[in-house]
């Protein structure tokens, strides 16, 4: 059991990292640890637990801005902004159910560090696109800030982009400022039933290139669709298109979509409440939860070219009996594969190299995550640049060393 450092304020985070630097120690940077099982399995001398840095420090609904200490629970933030009919438009997914961690426990710092998003990614972006400002302590033990509290800002380098998705390997964030946006007044989901992956690809391309202005497009093959109760698809594949906005707009776009998609097959519809439940389940990849039928399978998250998603999925299904869920109009492929000592990494990586994009091994036993690359290996010149960037923040490799790549 390693040491656990539990700072209560930002200055103590600085002190903690200086302590580690002075003693030549490494730190695991964590919020509430819901995503601890993601990344290479590595060992650290102590855990820097940021969950004690908690609380919303600024929320101005009419300015669309919120600041919170990094350890603030996401659920607290979401509940607060909901009171003003607002939301985090990037729809951050909850990794808890996939990884066997308690649901609804993530912190805002973890959401940013993992650059989370959800089905609305194709319309509204990821955490990176809503991350306005930060205060953080680098691996040098120095506090710095970047960005601000306004949405339009090009003053200096956009370090927020770099910290989003850096998995705590550059700096320990202490305070975060994000953009919040109005929540859609209502939503509905148009369904197409029984499509194979190829037809679904075409339908999703047609819908996302239409005036329908869909805020999500997903395809669930039959075996996966049946696990989402709300789909009520009775053993049929489901291709789903979400419409959000004011009621007259949703109604008009529903007509647009139904006319466009009718020729593809049988149409269906989810009203507001079932639509909400359906997309929540897609967001959190509920067909592949740790306690579900595929809970022991290795799970890959693949971001690829939308039109190539079904090619990747078919290859993995044919060669390794993968179960697939497609989000982002085909651009996000969740692939659950039977357990293997290498998590089928060569097969997955080859498919992604061919199609374009990247793949992250989200769930696999620690031994597997110690043996295979969890994040996509980078081309040599990019890997060298990545190392130099890492060194510019954390030259001694104090923060989460080895979590993203071996030797980094």
């Amino acid at each position: 059991m390693s040491d656990r450092l539990t700072p209560r304020e930002a200055s103590e985070v600085e002190a903690a990292i200086q302590w580690a630097l002075a003693g030549g120690k490494t730190l695991e940077v964590a919020g509430r640890g819901t995503k601890r099982a993601i990344g290479r399995a590595a060992q650290w001398d102590a855990t820097l637990d940021l969950s004690g840095l908690s609380g919303v420090t600024l929320y101005e609904p009419e300015e669309l801005v919120l600041s919170a200490k990094a350890g603030t629970p996401l659920a607290e933030i979401e509940a607060l902004v909901a009171k003003s009919k607002q939301e985090l438009a990037f729809e951050p997914m909850d990794y808890g159910p996939l990884l066997g961690a308690p649901p609804g426990s993530a912190t805002i710092g973890g959401v940013i560090a993992a650059n989370l998003s959800g089905p609305r990614r194709i319309k509204s972006g990821a955490a990176r696109d809503h991350f306005l400002g930060v205060q953080a302590v680098s691996g040098r033990g120095e506090t710095f800030k970047s960005g601000g509290r306004v949405v339009k800002n090009v003053t200096g380098y956009d370090l927020c982009k770099l910290l989003a998705g850096s998995w705590g390997t550059l700096a320990a964030m202490t305070e975060i400022t994000i953009k919040v946006l109005p929540r859609a007044e209502t939503q509905a989901t148009v369904l197409l039933l029984d499509l194979d992956d190829g037809a679904a690809r075409k339908a999703m391309a047609a819908a996302t290139g239409s005036y329908g202005d869909v805020s999500a497009a997903a395809h669930l093959p039959a075996a996966v669709a049946t696990r989402i109760v709300a789909a009520a698809s009775a053993g049929r594949a489901v291709t789903a298109f979400r419409l959000e906005g004011v009621a007259p707009s949703v109604a008009q776009r529903k007509t647009v979509l139904e006319e466009l998609l009718g020729p593809f097959g049988t149409l269906g519809l989810l009203d507001e409440a079932p639509s909400h439940a359906f997309w929540r389940a897609v967001r959190d990849v509920m067909p592949f939860t740790a306690d579900g039928a595929s809970g022991t399978r290795d799970l890959w998250r693949i971001s690829t070219v939308p039109a190539r998603g079904p090619d990747v999925g078919r290859r993995l299904a044919e060669r390794a009996d993968a179960e697939i869920l497609y989000d982002w109009a085909g651009g996000l492929v969740w692939a659950a594969l039977p357990p293997a000592s290498d998590a089928h990494a060569p097969l997955v990586r080859a498919a992604v190299v061919e199609a374009g994009g990247h793949a992250t091994l989200i769930r696999a036993p620690a031994a597997v995550r110690a043996a295979v690359a969890v994040f996509t290996p980078e081309a040599p010149a990019v890997a060298a640049l990545t190392k130099r960037v890492r060194d510019s923040f954390d030259p001694n490799g104090v923060l989460n060393p080895g979590r993203m790549w071996a030797g980094l």
Partner: protein, 497 residues
């Protein structure tokens, strides 16, 4: 020129003939320009108060040539300033007397349009507007629309993270770029991102975007294209005070409405614009709002009603909605012509670019009026009200001794004021040389040192566009030094489990 640039290196200047010859071997034909007369068009960008002839201009046509030029300059210790169309308002492309000016204008092809995946792959010298024009036949467009979009290039947009009037709803460049090919100062060519979403590792594309040409030279860009909204209608709302107009903006957003565009003009800007284009703007109001809704017709009509209703609750004095495309464009005509309109009433004007929390607008306008009196210079304001981006236009006459300096001091005071109220120095024009020395108003030494360490990760010899963005140049080795104070740390007192 009040902002000092790095002193030219005599050793480099003495080798000029040899350097020009070497560059001609890398970029054959007419791609190397060394005569003073032919280099003259490159001596400044949109910030015309600053001028400097480069040592030599190079106009490469291929990625290999860019890599060759940068690799050569890296080996030889020669500075390089990249340039797109030269529309920067902050001096980002201001040449260096001992540096190569690397013009990217010949990278002007659209390489691929892929409607299925809603992307376009373009060379950096393609203009912003040309991207939209290339996809408009299928009803698509490229969302960021800086007002210089006829001339400015995508490469420059990436360097500056350019915005436009629609960015509250559709984002700025960084939200609409998926990938790029980038040449590092060493001459290494790397690819970041692609046609897919999000980065495989660190979001290096995100850091390159908005880096003002200090981290690398982009030779190809993959952008997202969007379906053009089915309809757009605008409301023209006049208010007796900027407080009322600001209140209206806050209530529109508070009501959950994110307009496609929301622009505000103050009294002097309204008058200048109306005198120039006769858009039918009311002249008896102190603030004018243009609120544009775009999307499906049912949505636009519905929200426009709500916007008018909100405006009625904010003492609106004039309220009109566009009932035709011609009328909508007429509403915009005055706003879009605001800069040249101000140009008609003053020999020169200086365009500022701060961003503030919207609620601070009345306070900032009031303080600006005080500054205007103090400096004896008039000021007109146009404001991207949706996102808080303020463009004060300071009116001056460069032929009057001391007026340019007064205008610059006035501008600097405005930007310090923006920071003081919780805003930032620049919303979309960039720091460049113009706001370089104001950076300490917003960032402390540790903040700036961390940014410059990142610069060193991309450019270890500080050869790429030096003298921009950062007020002091540090050697990378000096920045990288660590000072660990063992024994001074009181951390063992922290609570643990």
């Amino acid at each position: 020129m009040p902002v000092a640039m790095p002193l030219p290196d005599d050793a480099v200047l003495r080798r000029r003939a040899e350097i020009v010859a070497a560059l001609k071997r890398i970029v054959p034909g007419e791609g190397v320009i060394a005569s003073e007369q032919a280099m003259r068009p490159y001596e400044s960008d949109g910030l015309t108060a600053y001028r400097q002839l480069p040592m030599v201009v190079v106009l490469p046509e291929t990625t290999a040539q860019v890599a060759g030029v940068l690799g050569y300059c890296h080996r030889e210790g020669i500075k390089v300033v990249p340039r797109g169309a030269g529309t920067s308002l902050s001096g980002g492309a201001l040449p260096l007397g001992d540096g190569v000016l690397l013009g990217m204008a010949k990278f002007n092809r659209i390489r691929e349009i892929d409607f299925d995946n809603r992307i376009a792959v373009v060379e950096p010298g393609v203009t912003n507007l040309a991207v939209s024009q290339a996809v408009e036949h299928a009803g698509f467009y490229y969302a960021p629309d800086p007002s210089s979009q006829i001339a400015c290039t995508i490469g420059g947009n990436v360097a500056e993270n350019s915005g436009g009037v629609h960015c509250l709803k559709y984002g700025v460049t960084t939200n609409n770029v998926l990938g790029c090919e980038l040449v590092l100062m060493t001459g290494e060519v790397i690819r970041l991102g692609g046609k897919h979403l999000d980065a495989a590792g660190y979001d290096l594309l995100g850091i390159v975007t908005g880096s003002e040409g200090l981290l690398g030279v982009v030779t190809e860009v993959t952008v997202r294209i969007l379906k053009r909204p089915q309809t757009a209608r605008a409301a023209l709302l006049g208010f007796p005070s900027s407080e009322d107009a600001g209140d209206c903006v806050a209530r529109i957003i508070g009501a959950g409405i994110i307009p496609g565009g929301m622009e505000m003009m103050d009294g002097p800007a309204i008058k200048a614009a109306e005198d120039f284009v006769h858009a039918g703007y009311p002249l008896d109001v102190e603030a004018l709002l243009i609120v544009e809704l775009d999307g499906p017709k049912a949505e636009v009509d519905h929200l426009l009603e709500r916007v008018q209703e909100i405006a009625r609750g904010c003492r609106v004095a004039t309220s009109r909605v566009s009932n035709s495309e011609e009328e909508r464009l007429l509403f915009w005509a005055g706003r879009k012509a605001a800069f040249p309109a101000v140009g008609r009433i003053s020999p020169d004007y200086y365009c500022m670019d701060g961003t503030i929390p919207r609620a601070k607008l009345p306070l900032v306008l009031k303080r600006m009026q005080e500054l205007s009196r103090q400096y004896g210079l008039r000021c007109a304001n146009v404001f991207h009200a949706g996102d808080g981006n303020l463009h004060p236009l300071i009116l001056y006459d460069a032929n009057q001794p001391g007026e340019l300096e007064r205008a610059e001091e006035f501008g600097a005071d405005i930007l310090r004021l923006c920071v003081e109220v919780g805003g930032v120095l620049t919303g979309e024009h960039g720091v460049g040389v113009e706001k370089r020395d104001l950076m300490p108003a917003m960032f402390n030494e540790a903040d700036l040192d961390q940014q410059q360490r990142l610069k060193c990760a991309f450019d270890d010899k500080s050869l790429l566009n030096p003298g921009k963005v950062f007020p002091t140049l540090h050697r990378c080795a000096e920045l990288g030094r660590m000072h660990v104070h063992a024994g001074r740390v009181a951390f063992p007192d922290l609570p643990r489990f």
